[in-house]
Amino acid sequence: MKSWGNFPSLKNQKLVSTKSCNFSDKAKHLAIGLSRSYGDVCLNEDGVLLSNSENSKFISFDAQTGILKAESGVTISEIIKVFLPKGWFPPVVPGTKFVTLGGAIANDIHGKNHHISGTFGNHVKSFALKKSTGEEVICSEKNNKEMFSATISGLGLTGVIVWAEIQLKKVKSSHIDMKSIKFKNLDEFFSLSEAHDKNFEYTVAWLDCVSSGKNFGRGIYMAGNHSENKTNLKASFIEKIPNVLRTVPFFFPSFILNKYTIRIFNALYYNKQFSREINVPIGIDPFFFPLDAVFNWNKIYGKNGFFQFQCVVPESKSKECMKELLKIAVDSGQASFLAVIKKFGNKKSPGLLSFPRRGTTICMDFPNAGKDSVSLMKKLEEVTMNADGALYPAKDALMSELSFKKCFPNWSKFKKYIDPVFSSSFWRRVSGE
């Protein structure tokens, strides 16, 4: 069992189905979803991983209120497949649709609509939490409120989420009206965000993170709203390709991804859009989940895996800090394919350890080339800490105990809600326990 980043590589993890687990094993337990987290929040060395793939049925749906009750192994993909045709959409979606309800709650995930809708946890009405004692605790804003807050963003440590009730959002069509604007540098990004974020439910920007000099900080700002009109969009080019051809059959040898290929990719991406601004209708998949078009793209980084760096930095320090982080990435030459930047809003999540907070978030990938990559990640971490920012546990494999405790000052309050039989490799690394 590995996480999405294929790093770290841990031993002795036993996979057991949640339904059949009675916690008789002395080892520490951890519930998992589809392991779409990058680092070690979904890993548990020398422990038991509780799979929820058999725990993935819908329970009920109220078409008046839009409240869906489903088992925790249900995926965002399945929710979209079943509910979009009925005119409903998940309240928050991440950059891949292959995540479970349990994972979405435990990492309190955010999406392109954070500035309007907050995190996933903002839309969770209630859930049942199975404790190692066998007891099932129903948690909501009203009942067991503390356990509710601790479990949303609780990294799976409070028990197993068995089912949850979430609020779906009504939509009129199955596509997005997208505005896409090229920008030449980060200052331009910040002005675009300032000007347009308020008019669009979904916003995000892609950043070129190899170019220096006059192209430093260039990118494409993308914003969208659920369209009010129904039109039938043709399947995009990539959707017509059969699934087998969209699967990476093996780990790529590491030489395939290098400075040059990544430079070409970044240049092609920036130049795919000819005019400065375009306005087009676009499907749900290409807008929200472009990476899902290739099912296991993580394998192109080779067997050693890769790191993802994601942080958020407060508004007041955003501009300076984003430039500095990007500069470190560009200068390192350890080019990254995917870098995105977005301004978070100030809607507060009920989650105790929730990552999103007002400010700017940036997210970059780096192939794991050993020592150099680790020191690059450490440098990025340091800059973030100096700017009073925070790192995202769902994407992290390296942050120090000190950084964790600084990023999440509620950690000590959180600790008392941990189920004694539960733990994760991430938690042992950052809690110092």
């Binding site: 819908f58 329970i59 009920s60 079943v82």
Partner: protein, 250 residues
């Protein structure tokens, strides 16, 4: 053949993994369901799930298929509570342990009852119902194991073989009565039934098989192997002369 219009599906053995995956596909088309199985709790979980997906009310009926006395009455109940259903899916199954079946006749009989005799009763009733209506789709899950007897599972294989032959007869009888009879012959599928076996390269997911079943029902097929390469494998296996086959252990 043009795609059929399917509105009301009754499924026997609805808690089977293959059945559930298939029913999910029909739920997308807002079909109504009547689910039959022995485990009420599991059935109601599937009922809830399919109700959310289809937006329609789902009915359930409880029956243990090893108790043959109850099967006929059950079909009567389905007919009265679920009038005018147009499609019937029969999915329950019990692999059993071959060795035990060799020494314990009652046990072997149970394997035969669940896998064949209950099918025989159900299908006779359903066939007559559809024949009278002059329309309907019957889909039955048999197995490649029924294509040739092998020492490793011939009791189960006998039952499945009987199901296949019974369905051939029904098909022949009903083809000009507007009733389609479809026999599904899956190879190895990853489901609770095979969870104890080593999952080799020939194993496919229940979802893959479900897709094949769904398409075969809609297009009015007679007999399909799933995945389709099993047709070729079984042709080869059936082609081996008995005097050689008896010496093999496959």
């Amino acid at each position: 053949m043009a795609n059929k219009s399917i509105k009301k599906v009754v499924c026997f053995g609805a808690t089977s993994k293959i059945a559930y995956e298939t029913l999910k596909k029909f739920a997308n088309d807002h079909v109504e369901f009547y689910l039959v199985g022995r485990n009420e709790e599991k059935l109601s979980e599937i009922k809830n799930d399919l109700e959310v997906r289809s937006g329609k009310v789902v009915k359930i009926g409880i029956c243990d298929f090893s108790d043959l006395n109850k099967v006929q009455a059950l079909v009567g109940k389905v007919k009265s509570e679920f009038s005018n259903f147009d499609t019937c899916l029969v999915c329950h199954g019990f692999l059993g342990e071959q060795e035990k079946a060799e020494s314990d006749v009652r046990y072997a009989n149970e394997i035969m009852n669940i896998n064949f005799n209950s099918y025989f009763i159900l299908l006779t009733e359903i066939a007559n119902y559809f024949e009278e209506k002059q329309s309907g789709n019957i889909c039955v899950i048999s197995s490649v194991a029924g294509d040739r007897g092998r020492k490793s599972n011939y009791v189960y294989g006998t039952a499945k073989g009987a199901v296949s032959i019974f369905c051939q007869g029904l098909r022949n009888r009903l083809f000009d009565k507007g009733v389609n009879v479809l026999t599904i012959k899956p190879g190895f599928v990853s489901t609770p039934m095979t969870a104890h076996l080593k999952q080799g390269a020939l194993f496919v997911s229940a979802e893959t098989v479900a897709k094949g079943i769904y398409n075969a029902i809609l297009s009015g097929k007679d007999e399909v192997y799933l995945p389709s390469f099993w047709r070729l494998i079984m042709m080869l296996i059936k082609g081996i002369p008995e005097f050689i086959f008896k010496k093999l252990s496959i």
